[in-house]
Assembly symmetry: C2
Homo-oligomer: 351 residues x 2
């Protein structure tokens, strides 16, 4: 079991700034710069081996970048709650690892060959190693959480952290099943909302839940879960939009269309278009990614534009953000600015 | 979280018998009959949903049978240590689930289309669901362990159970990486022994380790680990032999040859045969399962026969069993007969 990092970090407020236009904001870049090396050190503490096609594959995957958004959310929540030590670090790192395990297996499930503009692990190391590397990471998530003991987190709380992570990962897998199931049908928006809440909501919420547990503020958890039930879907809708605007580091714009994903844009469009257009749309979506031509992607995009589905998605994300803001008001004041910042960032990010 | 089963089972000794030839033996069939429904009930408590292509797939997979060997080993060890309640049940069920998750993902990694004489989950439900179902099971393992709290296991012990399971699953994934790596090379017997200890040893040991933890007999764990370091590899060698004699429920005899597995038989043969035969052997093994013909399997079997590789493997398994017997002598007397029985069964089983 790895030792807890000795770098004790204090709530210095150094990455909080007070610009003229707003009363408060977080400098995410600075926060990331300050904390990323601590998160990476924690991750490295459980991946010390040198087994070919395992440890090198993990380093490759984790080294492809990523925003470290979930651990930063966990750390920022913990510090906002008055946490002034490093007790949250192993759990924050576990959230990052959980996220990366999901991405790694998702790439295989979706047939995605590119991740963060580089070949996906299963493409570089083969399918068998790809699955095994993900399985290994899924277990190391819990090794990291157990390592919280080395930072002085008591056994009872560590067990609650394990429980919270299991709840999140179980819900995420249920959401993934719904997502795969939806690809072969013509789902309603309510199906989509159920799916994104399960698939994205819980694992955006668990970093905050862990922070509340380590900070000894268990009473806030139901409110954090409510907040997560709005920002999770809002984040996913923003993701759907990004696929058509900026791309998501998967080598192309509109990759979701090739994969036949029933994004909120597609579901909106399916509900508005003519019967003939619907048949065309579904025919393209139900083709395999390899069979779908760029011309067919363009055709789908033209239908999405015709029915203003992008605008609709943006409006839905904004509505959810407002609901998230409202739920923040029910929480202790020390959390308000931090959570507002993240709600805003998650919806309006450009990558 | 599921409730703990109310069926309290006592150490009645009902499945212990004293036949004339031996001083003591366990009636495994009777033990299995008595305990299987309790294990299944525990498993069912965490799979109550009805998500298509998820819960049905799990029921299908668990319903294909299996010997329930690991949970029975856990329960029998616990009872031999004086355990007279149901506290071990959730952990025993977790061991069974862990085993089944490994099998499910292994089938994808190995390209095995048949499991226990029925289509493998990934064949029946598709690759994406196959991976996701395994991921879901991997997390439910920990939900089961956490459920031990409902049976009166204290938090400190539950956390130790989580830790023990993580250690086992992490080692198993390392062993799996070694196994996949070995398929493209010409490994030595020491490589094989390292691989099977990692891949099979730990997850045959963890049911006993859990039993010692729940029974409050932590001091025995190092001895159980030593015992596992002999029966784990012995079990795997028995498995290698079964593939060529009885088959392993994967639809054919010699499936391991098609998959290019470097079994102990193959490694022995590679070390004995001529350079020309070695080249032939490796050529067949390095073909994909689909490309390997039955005639090529027959050719490999004839080489294994020529160099008495089956006999060699049997001798190695017997040697390891003797070492396991010797390690049992270092343990408290109440464990001797139970562990002897399992050591014998694991090596000499016919399926």
């Amino acid at each position: 079991m790895g030792k807890c990092s000795n770098n004790i970090f204090l709530l210095t407020g150094s990455y909080f700034s007070f610009p003229k236009k707003r009363s408060f904001m977080i400098d995410l870049e600075r926060l990331s710069k300050e904390k990323s090396s601590l998160i990476d050190k924690e991750l490295a503490s459980v991946f010390g081996g040198n087994m070919p096609n395992l440890h090198d594959a993990i380093k490759y995957h984790l080294g492809t970048g990523g925003k470290r958004l979930r651990p930063l959310l966990s750390i920022a929540t913990y510090e906002a709650l008055g946490g002034m030590d490093n007790k949250i670090l192993p759990f924050a790192a576990a959230c990052e690892l959980f996220h990366n395990w999901c991405l790694l297996h998702d790439d295989i499930m979706d047939g995605d060959r590119v991740r963060r503009d580089r070949p996906a692990v299963w493409v570089k190391y083969g399918l068998a190693h790809g699955i095994n590397v993900g399985d290994y990471m899924s277990q190391k998530v819990f090794e990291l959480i157990i390592n919280s003991r080395n930072c002085g987190v008591d056994d009872k709380t560590v067990l609650k952290l394990v429980d919270a992570m299991v709840t999140a990962s179980v819900k995420t897998a249920e959401g993934q099943a719904m997502d795969i199931n939806m690809r072969s049908g013509s789902p309603k928006e309510s199906d989509y909302m159920d799916m994104v809440m399960a698939k994205t909501g819980h694992y955006l919420t668990v970093p905050m839940v862990g922070a509340a547990l380590v900070a000894g503020r268990e009473e806030i958890i139901p409110k954090l879960v409510e907040f997560g039930s709005f920002i999770g879907p809002a984040f996913q809708i923003a993701d759907d939009i990004l696929d058509l605007t900026e791309g998501k580091g998967r080598g192309e714009i509109g990759r979701d269309i090739k994969e036949g994903k029933k994004s909120i844009l597609i579901i909106h469009c399916l509900g508005k278009c003519t019967g003939k257009e619907k048949a065309t749309l579904l025919k393209v979506l139900h083709k395999s990614p390899e069979e779908t031509t760029d011309a067919e992607v363009t055709l789908v995009v033209s239908l999405l534009n015709k029915y203003d589905s992008l605008d609709y998605a943006k409006k839905r994300a904004e509505e959810l953000k407002k609901k998230a803001y409202a739920s923040i008001k029910k929480m202790p004041p020390e959390l308000h600015e931090t959570l507002k910042f993240f709600a805003d960032y998650l919806v309006n990010r450009k990558k």
